[in-house]
């Protein structure tokens, strides 16, 4: 599975994570490459969320190695993972509904000018940043509570990227979205790839996976059931890997 042309941005080697007697992850390998979308699939309890939490710094693995651009790294906190360039968008989005788009984008690091928050700069930079992602919002002064689920997802993704991350981890980005909104989110995910980011998408949504992803990695019972390039597989094979009726190893 290794290629020489793409050096992986994020690489997991032999990751194992146990909770008491339960082995949630067992010798898991994973590679995320720049300019590529990797879809992470698997049934409930397959270990996807645990894996996401390991990559985003919420869980420390018991065994194995996390490498960023070839260097082994350890993340004690989500903040460390974030500053190392791994942006995570969790399912609950963590937006403040009663605050506007610009304020949410700068949550936790409001720019100051003298004693006061520099609102003008916040709004200007938000507009510029959203434009650079090809995202249009009617106004950066719109409250999150007034936005649709899809627009919220886009704001959450944009905020994750604001840290200048080169690896983006999306946990079920379309779980709560309608058809049209899912298409919008898929568009943004593709644009992230086109900008050279390594994108990892955890999803149940086969349509989304086959529409956007370049590779799929299927998890089953805490192990890697198989890795495929989308161009060289089909739904039947992927479903077989998910349900366990087909196994690589």
């Amino acid at each position: 599975m290794t290629t020489t042309t793409h050096r992986p941005t994020l690489e997991l080697r032999g990751i194992t994570k146990r909770f008491g007697h339960v082995t949630a992850l067992d010798d898991v390998h994973l590679q995320a490459r720049p300019g590529e979308i990797l879809a992470l699939l698997g049934d409930n309890g397959a270990g996807k969320s645990t894996l996401v939490k390991v990559m985003s710094g919420l869980y420390a693995p018991d065994e194995g190695e996390i490498r960023l651009a070839g260097d082994p790294r350890r993340f004690a906190t989500p903040a460390q993972a974030r500053s190392a360039g791994i942006a995570t968008v969790h399912q609950d989005l963590a937006l403040v509904e009663c605050l506007d788009v610009a304020t949410n984008l700068f949550l936790g690091r409001f720019p100051r000018r003298g004693l006061f928050v520099d609102r003008a700069r916040m709004e200007r930079e938000t507009e510029e940043f959203l434009r650079s992602l090809d995202v249009t919002v009617s106004s950066v002064r719109t409250e999150i509570g007034m936005l649709s689920g899809g627009q919220r997802q886009i704001v959450a993704i944009a905020r994750a990227l604001k840290t200048g991350a080169d690896t983006v981890l999306l946990d079920e980005p379309t779980a709560a979205l309608g058809v049209r909104e899912t298409a919008q989110a898929a568009d943004l995910i593709r644009r992230l790839r086109d900008q050279g980011k390594a994108v990892i998408v955890v999803s149940h949504d086969m349509q989304l996976v086959f529409d956007t992803a370049d590779r799929v990695q299927v998890m089953r019972l805490g192990r890697v059931a198989g890795v495929r390039t989308v161009a060289e597989t089909d739904r039947d094979e992927v479903v077989a890997l998910i349900t366990g009726s087909r196994r690589d190893t």
Binding site: A94, C98, L99, L107, G108, F110, T142, G145
Partner: protein, 334 residues
């Protein structure tokens, strides 16, 4: 829950103008005007400057504590202990002055006592994880008891002249008290609307876990909010003591705490955090003073005042809730 926290705070120029006409403050403002008009029709004393200044003077006590309560509620907290902290501040400053401490220092130390009691509330809420309602209900009783024990229930007096002047003086016909309230109000407004502390406060009240996940120093901000709540309540107690030249351990109490919270909520501040403004609280506090004034000038039995206060409070929140639901629906479908 989400229908409550979501409210339009569009910060556009037209939005600001529109908010004055359609926001929660508009109704309160209209109510104040109507009450003054009714009173004036039945008693021409109402709009005379003496009466208007008296209304302002009685607003001060509730408003300054209301500033602290507003910030705390916006940050998702709650402080019921302000009624006791009010008396604690007055008694602490009074005891210090009776022991020869100069009055300006006694005021500062009295406010500090309030701040410390706030810090204790913060500790219990944040570290011991006791819900704010329980924590501050407990400290309400405990502080109330302590103050009574320390004074044996007797008011303190014999304060330096300067202290009395600070509470009774006027400048150009405007009581110092009103000046203090304006300064406190402007300060709190700027902190809440313009500073990083204020932005963090609103983020915490709006969605605490989101604020935490994005690196807001949640515990530090919340601690300061409780300290500010205690400090402003103590300051109110001290100012009343200066106005009356007497520090009464029985002043404040639960009725003070509830009046302050009622004024704050009528002014558009949400009990669920994230939403609220100091300007709204000013109008809310003013409405209650005008209401009390109306009852007196129209010779209604003042015992009716609490009935009126309670009715107005529930009505105001009902109207506000209905407006928010409507706004939320149209917002989502658009």
């Amino acid at each position: 829950m989400s229908t409550v926290t979501v409210r339009a705070v569009l910060r556009t120029g037209s939005g600001r103008a529109a908010r004055l006409l359609t926001g929660p403050q508009a109704g309160v403002f209209a109510a104040i005007v109507v009450l003054l008009a009714i009173t004036q029709a039945r008693n021409p004393v109402a709009l005379q400057s003496d009466n208007l200044i008296e209304i302002l003077r009685s607003t001060v006590t509730y408003f300054i504590a209301g500033c602290g309560a507003t910030m705390l509620l916006v940050g998702g907290g709650l402080d019921l202990s302000i009624g006791s902290v009010f008396a604690a501040g007055a008694v602490a400053a009074g005891m210090l002055m009776n022991h020869g401490v100069p009055w300006p220092a006694a005021i500062v130390l009295g406010v500090a006592v309030g701040g410390l009691l706030g810090a204790l509330n913060a500790f219990l809420v944040i570290v011991a994880q006791v819900p704010p309602f329980i924590t501050t209900l407990g400290s309400f009783f405990a502080v109330n008891g302590l103050v009574t024990v320390l004074t044996e229930g007797n008011p303190l007096f014999d304060f330096p002249e300067g202290f009395g002047r600070a509470g009774q003086g006027e400048i150009g016909g405007i009581p110092y008290l009103v000046v203090y309230a304006v300064v406190a109000g402007v300060l709190c407004h700027l902190v809440l609307e313009k500073t990083r502390f204020g932005y963090d406060t609103r983020a915490i009240g709006g969605n605490e876990s989101a604020a935490l996940a994005n690196g807001v120093a949640v515990d530090r901000v919340k601690t300061w909010l409780y300290v500010i709540s205690g400090g402003t309540a103590a300051l109110c107690g001290i100012l009343l003591a200066a106005r009356l030249s007497s520090a009464d351990p029985n002043s404040g109490g639960s009725s003070f705490a509830f009046q302050v919270l009622a004024a704050t909520i009528i002014g558009g501040t949400s009990l669920f955090g994230g939403v609220g403004s100091v300007g709204g609280t000013a109008l809310g506090a003013l409405l209650f003073s005008v209401l009390a004034n109306t009852l007196v000038l129209t010779r209604v039995n003042p015992l009716w005042q609490n009935v009126a206060t309670g009715t107005v409070l529930v009505l105001a929140v009902m109207v506000d809730q209905a407006r928010r639901r409507r706004r939320f629906r149209t917002g989502r479908s658009g």
